[in-house]
Symmetry: C5
Subunit: 399 residues, 5 copies
C-alpha cells in the first residue's frame, strides 16, 4: 500500500496529464469492480476458507506492551509467538499478520484467538466493505479499507481487518507495507495513550489512522483536479483530458463508496451499548465520525468541481466548433462574392461586326479606361463592408 505518510504528496501532483506509461488501458470502466465481481464467484460457501491466488507468505509481528513495558519482534515460528503470548497474559499484545498464504496457520490463528469462521472468510475474501461485528458478547471484528491514489490515477484500496480480545488485537492485511507506522511509532515512544488504555483503544487508533490516510488521497485528487483545470484553461482541451476527467470522477465516486460504509461502521460503534464500547473510548470514535463525515464532504466538493470541469470542457468543445465556423464563414463570405464579380467580367458576350469578324465584347464597361481600377475599387469596398459587418458582430475579435 502507500509507502510512507511523511512523504511529500508530490507524486500525483507531479503527474503530467500527457504522461502515459503506467496508466490503465482505457481509464473509464471500473476494472477494479469487474475484477471484484469475477473473484467473488469462488469461495462463497460459508465455512470454507480458501486462500486467494497471489496472496503473500505470512509474516508475523508481535508487539507486546503495557504502560511501562514495550517489545516488538517478528517471529518466524508461530509456536514461539504463541508461547510468548500465552506466557504474558498481563501484557497487551498486537499481533500483526501480513500475508495469508498458509491455510494451516490461518486455521490455528482462528482457533487460538477465537476468530469466527465467517469473519475469517471476510479477512481472506477479495473485497469486504468496511464493517463492524460484535461477537462473543464484547469482542469486535472490524474491517477498514486503506486507500491510495496511484500514479495511474486510480484509487487503490487494501483491506485491514481487526479482531479484538481481552488483552490483544489481531490485525490482518495482505501486504508487507502499510500506513500503520505512525501507530507503531507512538507505541514505541512510550508517551502514547495507547500504552495506558485497553486494546480497544489500539483498535480505535488503527481505525483512525486509516481514516486519516483518506486525506492525503483526497489531497492528491484535489491537486490533480487543479492540474486538469489549468489544462482546460490554458491549453487546448482534448479527448485525453476528457478521459482523465472521467477517470477522476470515477475515483471520487469510488472513494465515496469506500468512505460511506466507514461512516456507517463508526455510527454503529457509537450506538453500541457501553459494556461493549466504554464511554471513554466512544469519545474518540466520535472524533473519527467527524473525520469520516468531513471526508465525505470533501468528496462531494470534488465531485462538484469535476462536474464543473465537464461543463467547461463541453462548452469549450462547442466554442471551438464556433470558432472554426466563424473562420469558414468570414473567408467564404468575403471571397465568394468577389469570385462572382470577377467571373462576371470573364464572360464572353460579344458583338458581331458587320463583316462577320468579332472584335468587341458586348459588355461596354470592359472598354472604359477606368473599368479595371473601378472594379478593383468595387472589390475593396465589398471586402471593407464585410469586414466592418463582421467586426460589429464581434467575430473578428478573439471570441
Amino acid at each position: 500500500m502507500t509507502a510512507d505518510p511523511s512523504l511529500p504528496l508530490s507524486s500525483a501532483a507531479d503527474l503530467d496529464p500527457d504522461y502515459e506509461a503506467p496508466e490503465p488501458r482505457t481509464g473509464i470502466s471500473d476494472r477494479a469492480a469487474t475484477q471484484q465481481a469475477r473473484e467473488q464467484q469462488v469461495g462463497q460457501r460459508p465455512g470454507t476458507l480458501t486462500i486467494r491466488e497471489g496472496s503473500l507468505r505470512p509474516r508475523l509481528f508481535l508487539i507486546s506492551y503495557s504502560s511501562s513495558f514495550f517489545t516488538e519482534q517478528e517471529y518466524d515460528s508461530y509456536d514461539e509467538l504463541l508461547h510468548y503470548f500465552q506466557a504474558n497474559p498481563q501484557l497487551k499484545h498486537w499481533l500483526d499478520v501480513r500475508g495469508y498464504n498458509d491455510l494451516g496457520l490461518i486455521q490455528r490463528l482462528m482457533q487460538d484467538f477465537g476468530i469466527h469462521a465467517l469473519h475469517m472468510e471476510d479477512v481472506l475474501g477479495d473485497y469486504q466493505r468496511a464493517k463492524v461485528d460484535v461477537f462473543d458478547e464484547d469482542r469486535l471484528f472490524l474491517v477498514s479499507r486503506m486507500t491510495d491514489f496511484t500514479s495511474s490515477l486510480e484509487i487503490d484500496d487494501d483491506q485491514l481487518s481487526l479482531v479484538t480480545g481481552d488483552n490483544f488485537v489481531v490485525s490482518f492485511q495482505d501486504d508487507y507495507d502499510d500506513c500503520l507506522d505512525s501507530v507503531r511509532n507512538r507505541l514505541r515512544s512510550g508517551f502514547s495513550m495507547i500504552r495506558h488504555k485497553p486494546p480497544l483503544y489500539l483498535a480505535y487508533a488503527l481505525t483512525d489512522v486509516v481514516l486519516d490516510h483518506y486525506y492525503p488521497t483526497m489531497a492528491a485528487i484535489g491537486d490533480y483536479i487543479e492540474i486538469l483545470e489549468d489544462r482546460i484553461f490554458n491549453g487546448r482541451p482534448n479527448r485525453r483530458l476528457l478521459s482523465r476527467i472521467l477517470q477522476i470522477k470515477k475515483d471520487i465516486v469510488r472513494f465515496r463508496r469506500l468512505v460511506y460504509p466507514e461512516r456507517e461502521k463508526i455510527a454503529e460503534i457509537l450506538r453500541m451499548p457501553d459494556q461493549v464500547i466504554p464511554e471513554e473510548i466512544k469519545v474518540y470514535f466520535k472524533d473519527c465520525y467527524d473525520h469520516a463525515i468531513q471526508a465525505m464532504d470533501l468528496a462531494e466538493s470534488y465531485r462538484e468541481s469535476i462536474s464543473s470541469l465537464m461543463d467547461l470542457y463541453l462548452s469549450d468543445q462547442s466554442n471551438r466548433m464556433n470558432e472554426v465556423m466563424k473562420v469558414l464563414t468570414i473567408i467564404s463570405s468575403i471571397f465568394i462574392p468577389l469570385s462572382f464579380v470577377v467571373g462576371l467580367y470573364g464572360m464572353n458576350f460579344q458583338r458581331e461586326n458587320p463583316n462577320g469578324t468579332i472584335n468587341h465584347l458586348n459588355m461596354p464597361e470592359l472598354y472604359e479606361p477606368w473599368g479595371y481600377p473601378a472594379l478593383l475599387g468595387l472589390l475593396a469596398v465589398i471586402v471593407a463592408g464585410q469586414l466592418i459587418y463582421f467586426y460589429r458582430k464581434g467575430w473578428l475579435t478573439n471570441r
Copy 2:
C-alpha cells in the same frame, strides 16, 4: 437458466459488439417489462391457480438426508414420493419441483405440504419480486430471482420459490437446469454443514447460492463494458455502439431492481424474532446481506462507468463534427481566395486601339514578363500564410 457456475465466463466477454444474430430486435425498450405487464393481467383473482402457458411438465426430485444418511431420486409418481417422505419423518427432505404444468399435482402438493394458496399463486405467476413471508407461525415462503446474462446482452431472470417446513424444504422452479448444483454436491459430499443443520439452513444455502450467482452475471456485464470502452477508444463510435451502451445501462438498472428486493428480503429475515429464525442461522443470513449490499455497490459502480461511456460517446460525436468542419474550413479557406485571384486575371478588360481593333487587355500586369511567375508566387504565399495560421490554431495536428 445458467448452465454451470464452473464454466469460464467467456460467453459474454467473447461477444463481438458487431455480432448480431440473437440480439433483441431493437435493444432499448424493456421488452421483458412489457411482457410482464401483459401477462400480469390474467389469473389475478386470488385463490385461483392457473398454469401459465409454456410451463414445463413437472419433474420431481427428492433428496433425503441426515447427518449420516443421504439419498436422492427422481420420482415419476408423486404417490411413491409422498409415501417415502411420510415414511421417513426422521430424515430431512428437499423436494425439488421443476416445471408446473400439472394443476392436479400442484394442488396435491399444496395440501400435503401445507402451502398457502396465495403463495402458490406467487409460485405459478409470471413475475414475483424477491420476498419472504412467514406463515403458520414459523414457516417461511421465500422467493429469489436467479439471473443470467444472455448472449443477446439481456439479463434473464428466473424465479426460485422455497417453502420451509419442520423437516423439509420444497423448492419450485419452471426450468430443468438451474444454478443449485453446488448445493447438491455439498449435500452429497457428506461434509457439508447442511447435513448437520435444520432445513432452514438448506433454505439459507439455496438463497445464498442464488445471490452468489449475481457475481458472474455482473462480471459478464463488466467485461462487456470493457469491450465497449475499447471500441469507443480505438474504433469509431457508431450508432450500434450507442444502442449497446443503452442496452447495458438498462441491464444494470434491471439488475438493481432485482437485487434491491433481495436485500430487503434478507433485512426482513434478520429482523424476524428468534423463534422463527434462530440466531445461529441469522449469522449466515447476515453474511448474505453483506453480499447483497456489495452486489448493489457493484451495480452502482457499473452504472457510473456506463454514464461515463455515454459522456465520452457524445463528446466523440461532437468531436467528429468538429473534425469534419475543420477539413471543410481549411480547404475552403485556402482555395476560395485562390479562386478569386485566378478569376481576377481571367477578366476581359480590354483597350480599344485607335483603329478599332483590340489587342491589349487593359490590365497592365498581364503583360509583365514576370506576371505569371509572380502570381504563382503570390498564390504560394497565400497558401503558406493560411497553413501557418491553421497550424498555430492547432487545426492541422490531429485534434
Copy 3:
C-alpha cells in the same frame, strides 16, 4: 372508462404514430393537471356539497348476496332500493351508484348509509388521490383511481370511491361503464370467495381489480414504446416523434403519481389494527401491496426506456447533422480545389509580340500538346487523393 378487460390490447399497439385526429392539441403540457387546478377552485368550503358540471344522472344498482343467495337489480326509485336494503339485514349488499347529478339523492345516501360530509365532498370533487380513511371506529372510506390509456396517448383516470359498513359496500363512480365486471361475474358465479366473506372482502376485491387494471394500461404504454423505438431505429426521427416520446414520458410520470398513493393507501391498510381489518383480509391486501410495488417497478422500467429513447433521438439528431456536414465537406473539398486549378488556366497573362500584336499567352504550359491531358490527369489525381483520404476517415461509408 375502459371498456372490457377481456378485449385484446390492440388499441394502443395499432396506433400509428402518424395518425393524428384525436390526439391532444400539443401533447406536452399536462392539460389534465391544469384542468384539475382550475376546477379545484370552486366548492372548497368544507361541508358544502356541489355537483360538478357534466356529472351524469345517477343510476342505482343493488347486488344483494349471501353464501347461498344472489340477486341484482337496477332501481329507478331510491325508496324501493332502500326498502329492500333495510328489509334484508341478513344479506350483504353492494350498492353501486353511477352518476352524481342529483344532490337530493346524494344527501339521502349520506344520511341512510352514514357517510361523512367530507368524504362525500371527496366523492363529488374533481380529483382525489387514492386514500383510505377510517371512521366510526371500523368503517372505511377508500378512494381508488382507475386508469386507461386512450387512443390520444393520454392516461385517463376515473375515481372509484368505496364506503364500507357492517353488511354493505357503497361504491361511487361518475361513469356508466367501469372495469368492475369481473367482480360482478365472480359474485354471480356463486363459487367466489366474495360470497362467503364479509363486505370488507368485497371492498378488497374491488380495490384489487382496479390495481389489476394498471397492467393493461402499462402494457399499452409498453407496446407504444416499442413502436416508437422501431420508428427511431428504422425510420427517420422527426419532431413529431419527439413530441410523442415526451407525451409517453409524461404519461409514465402521471401513472407513477397515480400508483404511488395507491401503494401508500394499501400500506396504511396493512398497518391498521386487527379490529378494523382482520388478519384474514390483510393477507389479501398484502397481495395487493405486492402488485402495487410491481406496477411502480414497471413504471420505473418504462421511464428508463423512454430516457434511453430520448438519448438515442438526440444522438440521431446530432448524427444527421454530422452526415449533412460530411456531404458538404466532401463535395466542397473535392471541387473547390479543382475550380481553382481550372481557373488558373483561364487567366489571360499574355506576351506582347515585337510588332505589338499579341499571340501567345505567357503561360508556357498552355502550349504543350500534352498540357490539357496532363491537367485532366492532375485533376483525377486530386480527386482520387481526396477520395482515399475521406475513405480512410470512414466518411464515405455510411456513418
Copy 4:
C-alpha cells in the same frame, strides 16, 4: 394581494408572451430571494421589533359573532375596539389587523392579546415560511403564505399570520386587500359552521382558504405553460421564449418551496395532542393536508411539463441548425461541381500553328458542334442526380 377569487382566471392566460411592459428586467435570477436576503440582515436581534419600511398604516377590523349574533366594524380607535372586545367575552372575535406601521399599537396588541415577542417579530419580519407554534399550552401561532401569479409572470406571496386565543383569532397582514372575503361572507351568511364552532375552526377556515387559493395560481401557471407550448409548436422558438420558460420553471420551484412548509405545518398540526387541537377540528385539517399534497402533485406535474418544453426547445434549436446546414449543403453541392465544369471549359489551352499564329484551343471537345448542348445536358444530369440523392435522403422534404 390577489383581488377576487370569483374573477375569471383570464389575466395570465391573456398574457401575450411578446408583451413586455411590466415584466421583470431579466426574468431568471430570483430577485425576490435576493431582496429577502438583503432585508433579512436588519432587525435580527430577538426581542427588538422594527417596522419594515413601506409598511401600511394599520387598519383594524373586528368581527364578533356567536351562533346567533354577528357584527363587524372597522375601528379607528384601538381603545374603542379593545373596550368592545373586553365587554363581550361571551362572543367569539376575529380581530383583523391590516398594516403594521404603528409600533405603539403593535406593542399594545402584543400585551392585550398575549402574543409572544418572537412571534411578533415573525409577523413584522420580511419573510417567514409557513409554520405553526404552540404557546401558552393550547394557543397557536400560525403563518400561511398567500400566493398570486402576477402579470409579470412572477409568483407574488404575502404573509398571513394568525394568533388564536380562547375566544378570539387575531390575523395580521400588511395589505388592505386579501383573499379572505369568502370566509367573511360565510360568517355573514349565518349558516356557516364557523359560527357554531370554536375560534380554532375559524383559524382552520382561514388556513384552508389560503390553501384553496393556490389552485388559481397554479391554474394560471398551467394556462401559461399551454401558451408557451403553442408558441413552440406553431411559431418560431426564440430566446425570449426560453427566458419565459425558465421564468415559469422558477415560479414552479418557488411555489413548491412555498407549499412544502405549508404541508409540513399541517402535518405538525395533525400530530398535536387532542387537548391542543380537538379531534373534531383535526378532521378538517386532514382535509387541508390532502389539498396541500395535491398542490405539490400539481407543481410536480407542471415541472415535468416545463422540463419537456425545454427538451423540445433545445431539440428545435438543433433542428433549425440542421435545416440551415441542409440548405447550404444542397446549394453548395449542386453548384460547386457545376462551377468546376464550366471553369474547365473556360481554360485557354491552345495549339500553336506552324506559322506561329494561334487559332485553336487545344481542347478538341470545344470544337464539336454538339459540345455546348452536350455540356448543358451533362450539367442537367449532374443536377438531377444530386436532387435525386438528396430527395432519397429526405433532405428536400421539410425535415
Copy 5:
C-alpha cells in the same frame, strides 16, 4: 473576517465581471477543499495539540457583566485576566481569545476553563463543521462557521468555537476582526437581554449573529447573479462568464455545505434535555432554526437561478453558432449559383470557320445584343428569389 456588518453591501455588487486582479487563478476547482485535505493530514493524533502555521499571536479580551455592571478590557497578561476572572465569580464573563499562536497559553486555558483535549484539537484544527457537543453534564462546545463573500468571488469561512461554563463563555477565533461587534454593542448598551440572562444566552446570541451574517453573504451572491444575468442578456456571453457562473455555483454548493451542519447543530440543541438547555433558551434557538432553514431555502433558490443561467448560456452558445451558419448559408447560397452562371458564359466553345479560322464562339446566346442585359436580369432574379426564400424562413431578421 468580514469587516463591519453596517457597511453597505456594495463591494460584491460593484464587481465588474471583467475585473481580474485578485480572483482565483482558475476559479472552478475547490481549492479551499484541497487545502483542507492537505492540512488535515497532520496533527491527527488525538490528544496532541499543534498550532497550525500562520496562526496569529493570541489577544485576550475579557468582558465581565451582570444586569447592573459592565466592564471590558484587553489583557496582555493571562495571569491578570485569570485573577480578575477568579476574583469575580458573581459576574458573568465572556473571554474572547483571538489568535492561537501560543501553545502554553492554550494549555493553561484548557486547564483553567476545563476544556476537553479533543475539543481543543477541533478549535486549533484547520476545519471543523458546525457542531455541538455536551460535556461535563451540562456544558456545551459549539462550533460555528462565519462566512464572507470575497472580492475574488469566493466564499471565505472562518471558525468560531464556543465553550460554555457556569458563569462564562470562552470564544476562540484565529482572526482579530470578526462579525460579533453587534453583540458587544448590545452588551455595552445595558438594555440587552444578554445582561439579564445566563451565559448560555450569550452563546445563543453569538451563534445567532453568525447565522444572521449568512444573509449579507447570500445577498452579495444574489447581487452577483443579477450582474451575470444582465451580462448574458445584454452583452455577448463568453467563456469568462461561464467560468464565473461555475464559480458562483460552487460558492452556493459550498454555502449549503456550511449551513446544513449549522441546521443540524441547532436541531440537536433543540432535542437536548431541559437540564442542559432550559426551555426559555430553547425558544430562541428555535428562532435560529427557522433562520437556518430559510438560509438553506435561499441557497436552493440561487442554485435554481444559476442552473437557469447555465441553460441560457448554453442555448446562447448554440444560437450564436446558428447565426454564424445562417450568414454563411445566405451568402454562399446567393453567390455560388451566380458564379456558376457567369462561369457558364466564360466558356470557350467555338465554331471553326471553313477557312480554319475561328471567329465565333459556339454559344448563340452570346451574340444576341440583349444577351448581357438579359443575363444581368437573370442574376437579379436569382438573388431576389433567394432573398425572398430566406426572408420567409425568417433568416434575414435578427433571429
